[in-house]
């Protein structure tokens, strides 16, 4: 084992390398490209005996990934943002094939307008695809989650593809100390892929994409995927116990921090949750009983764990780095569905949307979120959803609008008051 400073992207590449991925269909996109560059470099220098193929789009990439997984080899791929959306049709298809593989997504906000920076709308768009999802908060977790994902995806009780999500910039380009395990240790945790019944061969054609008209068989196959995804919750529990036994790092489906005696709880996913953790420390120093819950596993949704962790809390502040237009934050909605009618469900679930397009969430904002949520609990009134957006940011937008307005004048384009 060596402990060194590496980026989240390098950690994902190490995950694929230590998992001995056989086949890596690839297509570059910021901020993911470093992953496939790193893997390509290792392959070129004989350090990783895998085959990498550059496809002409993410749609083809995902098709190749699923097709290869259906032959019984271990497949790794990575994408981000628009690339994930471009692959979306095949995401659903490949999950339906019950082909296990691991896809790393480096979260980046979606167009329009275009950004390179992180939020979770891309990965949230894939939540209904049948891919299972693990969400990471540190570079170490990226490497570890990649190994864990293979174990879950390939488990005969599951046999579904799995996504590992890390945030663009805040993890992808950020170096943190990462323990890189020895290959032998990894082998004992993640043996070679035993494809079992997955044996597609050119001489023995199978069709993975059968047509089933009439609805009955369709319902059966879709629901089987759903049940397999649910079964992945137990498999996850076993796998992470194994992981802890071998590597000493623990990855429950949800991370809880200072939760036991907390009255107010932050709930969020991804790398900004470490900022929430730092804010919890500061709030505790100031005497506030605040805690943090961070789902790592988002598909299957860890409803039971969340109900248990949140029972008896006075209020939860859900911080969504995604936005469903016309609805609001997705995590908030899913949490409300999971808690509804359960014993001890917190009476107040406050919704905060922030960190869109790479926008920071400051410590002061976490403090304010805690304050607003506590007040809501005291008064028993759930506050309106709140966008984390400050006066200074509006001033910046107004300046851009003024310039655009001026330009329209200069160029004779429509003049609108």
């Amino acid at each position: 084992m060596s402990r060194r400073l590496i980026t989240g992207n390098a950690a994902a590449a190490w995950g694929a390398r230590l998992a001995r991925a056989d086949y890596i269909p690839a297509f570059p996109i910021t901020p993911q490209t470093e992953i496939i560059e790193t893997l390509g470099n290792w392959i070129d220098h004989g350090e990783m005996p895998a085959r990498m193929v550059m496809l002409e789009s993410e749609h083809s990439m995902m098709t190749a990934a699923g097709a290869a997984a259906a032959t019984g080899v271990r497949v790794f791929s990575a994408t981000s943002s628009q690339g994930l959306l471009h692959a979306m049709e095949m995401l659903y298809a490949v999950a339906g094939w019950r082909a296990p593989l691991v896809l790393v997504n480096v979260s980046r906000g979606l167009a329009s307008p275009i950004t390179l920076e992180s939020d979770h709308n891309d990965v949230m768009a894939a939540r209904d695809s049948g891919f299972l999802q693990l969400h990471c908060a540190s570079c170490q977790e990226v490497l570890d989650a990649t190994l864990i994902a293979y174990r879950i995806a390939e488990d005969p009780r599951v046999r579904l593809p799995m996504m590992v999500n890390l945030d663009g910039f805040y993890l992808s380009f950020t170096r943190e100390p990462v323990s890189i395990p020895e290959l032998d240790e990894v082998r004992s945790f993640l043996p070679d892929f035993d494809p079992g019944s997955i044996r597609f061969r050119a001489g023995r054609p199978i069709s993975q994409a059968v047509a089933v008209l009439g609805g009955g068989p369709y319902s059966y196959f879709r629901y089987e995927s759903h049940l397999a995804a649910n079964a992945a919750a137990d498999v996850h529990r076993e796998v992470v116990m194994d992981f802890e036994r071998i590597f000493g790092r623990r990855y429950d489906a949800i991370e809880t921090y200072q939760c036991e005696d907390a009255e107010i709880v932050f709930l969020m996913i991804g790398s900004f949750s470490t900022k929430a953790r730092a804010a919890v420390d500061a709030l505790r120093d100031a005497g506030e009983p605040v805690g943090l819950v961070r789902p790592r596993l988002l598909r299957p949704y860890p409803a039971e764990d969340l109900r248990r962790a949140l029972a008896g809390k006075r209020a939860v502040a859900v911080i969504d780095q995604n936005l469903s237009p016309g609805h609001g934050g997705t995590l908030h909605c899913e949490l409300a569905a999971a808690l509804y009618g359960s014993d001890g469900a917190p009476p107040v679930l406050a919704s905060f949307v922030g960190g869109l397009g790479g926008r920071d969430i400051t410590a002061a904002e976490f403090f304010e979120i805690a304050k607003v949520t506590k007040k809501a609990a005291d008064e028993g009134v759930t506050p309106e959803p709140r966008l984390l957006f400050q006066e200074s940011e509006l001033r910046e937008v107004r300046k851009l609008q003024a310039i655009a307005h001026h330009e329209r004048g200069l160029t004779g384009a429509e003049h609108v008051e």
Binding site: P113, E365, T411
Partner: protein, 305 residues
């Protein structure tokens, strides 16, 4: 926790500087987080990079609001609002600016009360070694990094580059490291986060606004004229008048940036302020009248006395 920000322009080695400092602090036993932050990835664009180091695991993330040390490798960035060089400087911060001017002058110009130090470029030294010079300075000012660990971090980070490049960078960094001896350790670790010291956010309610202003559209003409995209060019198309037969439309029509005008004599004129150097014109000219010169060669030629 130490919180350090580097500011520079793309191509000045800011990301490398932050990684070298991060690795050196890691070698000294610190938990470290370092990251670059840039918009469009191109030479000359303002970028910054940050390093956090602590004896305990680092949970803070993203932009550093309250830096203990800010290192600026390009003095022209100070007046660029988007670079936000001055953000969060307070009395106990240390500001290092790559500049031949005196520190007192910078203190006056910027109206700051914090310690300001300057990092004068060596004689005839271009931007290439500024990254090395600034990481040497930062390491000494923090005062927790040995020369050996600084050198080790540079060698590890630059591994694979030609050995003369590595030696030049090591030499420059160590020279800079030594030159700040009288200020060794003047950067101190910032406070842990506290609620009491935070200013509550001024959140605003957004109203629905007409799409004529709330859709992200810009009219490009004025901007296109102002932005000198010619700076992006690495290769320059040059028209050889003796070969050009003034067909007057092929290169000028096909240039994707409308950067070739046609003069009164039907002669093509390249607008180098906006030619991005895609070299499409070179490919399409039927009489092979457009040749390619590397910008670097053009620059060197120009700076010859």
């Amino acid at each position: 926790m130490y919180r350090i920000r580097f500011h520079g322009r793309g191509g000045q080695g800011i990301k490398t500087a932050s990684r070298i400092l991060g690795s050196a602090l890691f070698a000294e036993g610190y938990e470290v987080q370092d990251a670059p932050r840039y918009g469009a990835e191109r030479r000359g664009a303002p970028i910054f990079a940050y390093v956090r180091a602590d004896r305990a695991p680092v949970y803070e993330r993203g932009i550093i609001d309250h830096p203990d040390l800010v290192v600026v490798t390009d003095e022209s960035l100070v007046q660029v609002p988007a670079a936000a060089v001055m953000t969060g400087l307070c009395d106990r911060s240390v500001l290092v600016i790559a500049s031949a001017a005196e520190p007192e002058l910078w203190q006056q110009r910027l109206g700051v009360t914090c310690r300001v130090l300057t990092l004068p470029p060596g004689p005839g030294e271009g931007a290439a070694l500024m990254g090395a010079a600034s990481v040497g300075a930062a390491a000494k000012l923090i005062g927790q990094i040995s020369a050996a660990n600084l050198e080790g971090a540079i060698r590890a980070e630059l591994e694979g580059l030609p050995s003369d490049v590595i030696e030049r960078n090591v030499g420059r960094a160590l020279e800079s490291f030594d030159s700040f001896e009288s200020h060794a350790g003047c950067v101190s670790e910032g406070e842990a986060l506290t609620r009491a010291s935070a200013t509550p956010p001024a959140w605003v309610e957004l109203e629905v606004e007409p799409t004529s202003i709330s859709a992200p559209a810009i009219r490009g003409e004025a901007t296109s004229e102002q932005v000198q995209t010619g700076l992006w060019r690495t290769m320059r198309p040059v028209i050889d008048d003796s070969l050009c037969n003034h067909c007057s439309w092929i290169c000028s029509t096909l240039c994707p940036d409308a950067a070739i005008d046609v003069g009164s004599d039907r002669e093509p004129i390249i607008d180098y302020e906006h030619c991005k150097g895609c070299l499409l014109c070179v490919a399409v000219c039927p009489s092979h009248a457009i040749v390619v010169e590397p910008e670097r060669a053009v620059d060197e030629h120009r700076s010859d006395p």
